[in-house]
Symmetry: C2
Subunit: 683 residues, 2 copies
């Protein structure tokens, strides 16, 4: 069937619904709450992008898909989507956060297109804009934003994906010719999985170990070797005719698990020379005397500062995967709301599958989590923008150490959200596929390509497990900073008192003295399960307990057993990181809910929040029971309440997906045309 | 790199291993244990099938893949793989169980090929052989086994996938012409997702509602309507030139989420006439007077008997997905054993990623579960063969009611195993993909295509959730049969006593009177975690408790609230079904272990078993804590022990995957050639 493009009118009038649904007005209120601070941009995208600008046809060959995606990228650039978030003085439009929101909206379309847009305008253009200086921006940004200059972000190598500080490509300054020589000394130094490399890229921002033979003063400790760590350089990789530049070898990664429209490839350099000016030298450069200069003394700190400015990539990847999950839910819930299978004994008509508890259980908690993650994504994007604004208005243009702390803190949050949201998306799209049965497996219905595309989101822009490790590292550092002045004995006492408290609580409760405890600790069993305060205490106490006990374990690490102690506690550390991100998501949902005006939409949102909070608790009920945070009776009550919430939300499930505001035309699937799916429809 | 085809020599000499590995002899012993009763056939397949007979090239177009798969099917038929499991009097070879084992082995190759083989020889050929009678077998089997007659299994319709008893296609006997008229009265009656339909199928076994206008005596209750329920018919769908037969409309399902080499399509019938003899009439037919005759009186029972004879399809799908999971583990564990990333502080060389606990945690419990499922699969296949043999040797050729009970019981087991193994495979292949990072996403490395192909295994040959429901139904029926003579009060008393026992145990334990309890119940905290008896009690008590309490809840169901009571308990019922399958898997592993001779291989196997058992317990620790089966201390001890088992098994991880015996040449991936992946290898 074909639907009118960009019709976002809710279609929640559902003949199968057990009770009347919320009004159109309620959908609008929900949508506004979910849209968050960049609502205008979201509405503009919904209104202005026709389906053919944003969607693809699954099943076409790689060549056809690549051509289509390139065409769409250029068309979107023509519509101004290439310039969002770039500095206005160089022709950029809107603000930095807006570029993340545009990405989220584009993620409702074809994900090959999304990633190609991300490579061109986010990674390639973004790295140039944030690591380069005035001369780079004025020379290249206009052509990048228009798509006339397509380029790559050449960081990952065969030998180093996660540990990019150890890439092997070298960039050696040749003082004689005032050039820098880019070289791949080994096979494993080959850049790989690089988007835009196989077909379209004319240039690349190449990350390489910068070596500057010793001239004049250089930062401490770096004099001897002349090695200044990883830096980025602008390098032409193809000439105007599309042939590789001399010394550049380009390969094609070929077929991948997904993203068929993205031309990922390999790039190797054989002593390729570029002018000194091609070094993107915002954080470290080579002056006219051939000396290395940087305001940041430490090699590692310098590199992580550079990476930190590129944090937007992870914000986008997380947000994009969140959109994909929302789209999958919109498809599967609509299907489940129409598809019938098996009649109850004595009944003529078969049952709508979303009326089955097991089906609700598959879809509705994931829907609730999608709401939660959207609020968290909005909060994170706002924070990104705040820090951006603060940096811009900082005196002398250089933000102080507080800003740097805030930046590190944001990076940690972003890392964790990227990991949690991409995993959520994979899990959700798969559940949606299965919930649609064979129809879900047909490429035309959009779910399988989406699942295949999102797969790699879990490992690119940072491997999820490594990112969660990063979150943990941030937490532990912060923890050490706060508690550093406590001696070990004090620390033990503190943690022990916590543990003893838990133990007593636990023991008494299990001993049947429930009421006694309940009187003393109103936050527990007698508090309603929908008490936000109780829910919050569950999330926050888990986070702090896991962090404190992880820190305790790591204190045992000495010089000789450092890796062993760390490694033995790795599951614990990762759990602490996850608990922290879960708490942040909870808080963001709470803020989002509180910002809503009283009314039926807010009441509905509160139920979605309950479902999110209780499902999260149930998922980890083993931990809560182990740590005396849940009594046995209450643990079972949580499950019972989730089931009843599923029943309560079920009649509003379609409406809740309409609040995502995905234009009908973009839901390129046959599932919407359910007529043929109903038994008995005459041919 | 290219490896010698069919070199299954273990390559476990690993320079990174922390301790010496088991001898080649141990790998052989493990492999023999895993190979089970059809070891000879497995060894024959390993020896005789070259890689190009069994593997494909990912990323090729659908047309190219379909052609390749068709070619491979015919070549395998030439080698005799089409005749395995068919009746020997019609040219079949080996036994019925062997056909399942051949399928499992072929699942180490390309899965499009696997499914095409399954459609042709298992579904199409199998349905004809088991639902047809002598005249059908002698007329068609030779051509089916040779691949000269390609065909379809046309059961699923647009409107009915799970509830196939309600397919809408009709097969109406026309007494005037002695023909049967096949017709699709509605759009939703169109057969869909049918393998072999889009390109190769010349015929189909079509499932349709049989209507025989009233002539003579017919079974009770069916006289009025002449409707005898779903039957299967042999129908030509294409002529020898490949054109659709008159009245047959064939469509192409086109691109799917995976299985690109399988030509799934749609078939609709417009009053297509076939001779009466085309009715596959083993369980119900039309005699020469035009009267319907069947030895089975009840319409439903008749249809479920027919479906029951087709249980092999589910055995195969489960087994095939299990093989895919094993292959994914072989790839990811080998990669993890070589790939290095991040150096410990002060170290020069980076750490092998499988040395990280988090990486072990991702892969080793899934490896252990793969072992468990293989033993269960072997046991199930043996049981299938036993019942087959029993049926054949039954007096008068008709097995008695005991056999029928055994058959129902097998079907339930098969349903549950199919669901659990396919879900395990999806989860495992995904974890393996992520564990290989970007390399895992490259199609050439085999993981993504495998993941995409296996996806549909979760919903075809029975939707997994529906299958688990079937397991539950079987359990509850059996339970009712055993306890049917108890009155409700007796039942309540029994369950209540269980509950009280749990409660007391729970309360006392949590109250710190651990030792008192432990003295009384040696099975608990003081029993070693590797006590097989304790582990078994955990699996079996969970299964019986969940079943008993589910049965209690369903007793409340009356005529008016039947669906509601059932639906509210659906999550509970599904948990009971899963617990039952988990117990069966545990028991199969136990039997498999016990059959091994004492020695290092058996000791190693016992550790793998511990890891499987404890990981399963940990996964559901919330339930065990809730039900007083785990104390808090013991729950934490389980986690600690899993971590230490991961460390103990890690040096043997590669060897444990070698025990699967996947020929090197079939592991069509670059991951094996790890040279380029190592940093510093000179170009």
């Amino acid at each position: 069937m074909s639907t009118t493009t960009n019709d976002t009118t809710p279609r929640h009038e559902n003949p199968n619904a057990a009770e009347p649904l919320g009004a159109q007005a309620d959908v609008d209120v929900l949508r506004a709450a979910l849209d968050g601070p960049w609502r205008d941009l979201r509405e503009r995208v919904r209104r202005e992008l026709p389906a053919d600008a944003i969607t693809g046809t699954p099943g076409e060959s790689i060549d056809v898909q690549r051509e289509r995606v390139t065409r769409q990228v250029l068309a979107l650039a023509d519509m101004g989507y290439g310039s969002i978030g770039f500095p206005t003085e160089h022709g950029g439009t809107l603000d930095y956060g807006a570029s993340c929101v545009a990405f989220e909206m584009q993620a409702f379309g074809d994900l090959s297109l999304l990633i190609k847009l991300g490579v061109q305008f986010g990674l390639f253009g973004g790295a140039l804009a944030r690591l380069g200086t005035e001369r780079h921006l004025s020379a290249y940004l206009p052509d990048i934003m228009s798509g006339r200059l397509m380029g790559c972000f050449a960081m990952t190598e065969i030998g180093h994906g996660s540990n990019v500080a150890e890439v092997e490509t070298t960039a050696t300054y040749d003082v004689e010719t005032d050039e820098i020589v880019i070289h791949s000394p080994t096979v494993s130094a080959t850049k790989t999985y690089i988007g835009n490399a196989a077909k379209d890229g004319k240039a690349a921002v190449v990350f390489a170990q910068l070596v500057v033979p010793q001239v004049g003063d250089v930062p401490d400790g770096e004099e001897e070797s002349g090695e200044h760590g990883v830096h980025a350089l602008f390098v032409r990789i193809r000439d105007d005719e599309g042939n590789p530049m001399p010394g550049v070898t380009i390969g094609d990664n070929g077929a991948k698990g997904g993203l068929p429209g993205v031309d990922n490839g390999t790039i190797a350099f054989d002593h390729v020379r570029v002018p000194r000016e091609n070094l993107l030298d915002k954080f470290g450069g080579i002056d006219e005397t051939g000396a290395y200069v940087s305001e940041i003394d430490n090699v590692n700190r310098r590199f992580f500062t550079m990476l930190g400015t590129l944090v937007r990539g992870r914000v986008c990847v997380g947000g994009g995967s969140g959109s994909a999950a929302q789209k999958a839910l919109a498809i599967a819930i609509r299907y489940g709301d129409q598809r019938r299978q098996f009649a109850a004994p004595g009944e003529e008509q078969e049952i709508v599958v979303l009326d089955y508890l097991a089906h609700q259980r598959k879809l509705l908690p994931r829907l609730a989590k999608s709401y939660a993650l959207r609020f968290a994504q909005n909060a994170m994007t706002s924070r990104l923008q705040e820090l951006e604004d603060a940096a811009k208005s900082a005196e002398g243009g250089t933000p102080g150490p507080d800003h740097e702390d805030a930046q590190r803190e944001l990076e940690s949050w972003v890392a964790g959200m990227k990991a949690q949201t991409t995993w959520h998306a994979l899990d959700t799209i798969q559940a949606c596929r299965e919930a649609c049965g064979g129809a879900g497996y047909m490429a035309v219905n959009g779910l399988t390509q989406m699942r295949a595309d999102v797969d790699v989101f879990a490992t690119f822009e940072g491997d999820n497990t490594v990112l969660m490790q990063l979150v943990a590292k941030g937490l532990l550092t912060e923890y050490r900073d706060s508690w550093g002045d406590l001696d070990i004995a004090g620390m033990i006492a503190r943690v022990a008192s916590q543990t003893v408290e838990g133990l007593v609580e636990n023991t008494l409760k299990r001993a049947g003295l429930q009421k006694l405890i309940d009187g003393a600790t109103p936050r527990n069993d007698e508090t309603a399960l929908d008490s936000r305060g109780w829910q919050e205490s569950m999330f926050s106490e888990r986070a702090s307990h896991l962090l404190e006990t992880a820190a305790m374990r790591l204190r045992k690490a000495g010089k000789d057993n450092g890796f062993e102690v760390f490694n033995n506690a790795q599951d614990h550390i990762l759990a602490a990181a996850k608990a922290d991100i879960d708490l942040r998501v909870f808080e963001a949902f709470q803020d989002g809910l509180e910002a809503m005006e009283d009314g039926p939409a807010r009441d509905l949102m509160a139920k979605v929040f309950d479902l999110y909070a209780l499902s999260s608790i149930e998922e980890d009920k083993g931990w809560f029971l182990e740590h005396g945070r849940l009594s046995v009776a209450r643990s079972k009550a949580v499950t019972t309440r989730i089931n009843s919430l599923c029943g309560e939300l079920r009649p509003r499930a379609v409406m809740l997906t309409e609040a995502f505001g995905i234009p009908e035309g973009w839901l390129e699937n046959d599932l919407i045309d359910l007529g043929q799916d109903r038994a008995g429809v005459t041919r």
